[in-house]
Amino acid sequence: MNETVQEQPVVKNQIQALSIPLAIIISGGLIAGAVFFGLKDSSTPTPTANVPQAQQVAEQDDGKALENMKPVASDDHIRGNPDAPIKIVEYSDTECPFCKRFHETMKQVIDEYGDTGKVAWVYRHFPLDQLHPKARKEAEALECAGAQDGNDAFWKYTDRLYEITPSNDRLDPKELPKIAQYIGIDVTKFNDCLSSGTYAEHVANDLENAVATGGRGTPWSIFVAPDGTKFPINGAQPYEAVKQLIENGLKSL
């Protein structure tokens, strides 16, 4: 009789005692699985394969990864004064919902600081193929628009694409020529450019540079202060945070 009375608390205590190790085993399994698949994935050739991972990590540890940023040049897409003392170099993925949000933040930055020539916005590509397979072609579409009618066409196309995309790889590729038509560039030339893959290498180079600077997700931006010091901005940070960085930078002028 006594045995049956004591049996219940024994089982209860055993379950309670097992809950913690069980949780640890599950978490360990999850993390081990993630590491396993992560390493497996990174061993497949990707556009970033030219930059060894260990080297990247070492560089990031030293805080030098940001210095790998390709210098801003005339072939970059710049909004605002190209000689502005402050430059914000954004590496973006057109299908990332947070990039869409940060695009609006950056437009607000340029509205406030662009006209006075204090801040320049540099746009580069960082399509995350594994999450948004359509983003790479869209990045090429941006370049094709720019190739046809210069910097203005590039930015008009970019603004329109971010405006209409539902994000997360849900933009119908048929919309790409429609955007070209909407901004008033030659659709036939645009389609030829897009299908030829003329800018595939350009996009791949941008992506590689983003990774080399320490970018791990999008939007990834590098704030270049007037004295050349670089600060990383990870994700869609609020306008107030970007403004604060700018104000701090302008004080040193």
């Binding site: 004591q6 024994v10 205590n13 309670q16 809950s19 913690i20 949780a23 640890i24 978490s27 999850l30 993390i31 993630a34 590491v35 698949f37 992560g38 994935d41 990174s42 061993s43 497949t44 990707t46 970033t48 991972q53 990247q56 805080g63 990332c96 919902p97 947070f98 949000r101 940060f102 933040t105 995350l128 594994q130 999450l131 994000s167 997360n168 990774v211 970018g215 791990r216 997700g217 999008t218 939007p219 990834w220 202060a225 004295d227 010091t229 600060f231 990383p232 990870n234 994700g235 869609a236 940070q237 609020p238 107030e240 945070a241 604060q244 960085l245 104000e247 701090n248 004080k251 040193s252």
Partner: protein, 176 residues
């Protein structure tokens, strides 16, 4: 009202711990920026402080609604768990809280791993997995890694339940 007045110390402690965990979770993705800013000589202390507080606004811009919800929930539950453990320790002064400490830490760890932009691969978790290759694992998950945050909430909810049950249990000498 009397309950609040009687337990004002515990409530304050819970709020402080929750706020600390929430702030850490929000600022974690920009740890590199903050370390550069706070070691920079060209910025005033006020400027550094204002930048740090402005980054807290990223809870509304850099999180999906689900990840914001799990992050806030985890922060709140960690605060509650810490206070319950503290109460239990003061009342019983024995090592029975050891298991709860481990489980709470585990729940908080899951919460921290789920911080960031799951849809874009800037989760803290991906930092440990390598760059774009690491984000690949998340594509296999229906919620793109936000499952980890939900798991964290469940663990912390369970720990809270265990602690409350222990506290409300009459003080007896258990044979087992």
């Amino acid at each position: 009202m009397t309950f609040i007045r009687r337990n004002i110390g515990y409530i304050t402690l819970a709020l402080i711990v929750s706020a600390f965990v929430l702030a850490t979770a929000i600022l974690l993705p920009n740890g590199a920026l903050l370390s550069l800013v706070w070691t920079s000589e060209s910025m005033t202390v006020l400027g550094k402080f204002l930048l740090t507080t402005s980054l807290l606004g990223s809870l509304t811009t850099n999180f999906s609604p689900l990840s914001a919800l799990t992050t806030v929930s985890i922060s709140f539950l960690v605060g509650v768990n810490v206070v319950l453990m503290f109460f239990l320790y003061r009342r019983q002064k024995r090592s029975m809280t050891r298991g709860s400490v481990a489980t709470t830490s585990l729940g908080a760890l899951f919460g921290m791993f789920s911080v960031g932009c799951a849809a874009c691969g800037s989760l803290i978790l991906t930092s440990f997995l390598g760059v774009v290759g690491g984000a690949g694992i998340l594509t296999f998950l229906p919620l793109r890694g936000q499952e980890i945050g939900i798991f964290g909430v469940l663990i912390l909810g369970y720990t809270t339940f265990l602690l409350v049950r222990t506290i409300t249990k009459p003080l007896t000498c258990d044979t087992l």
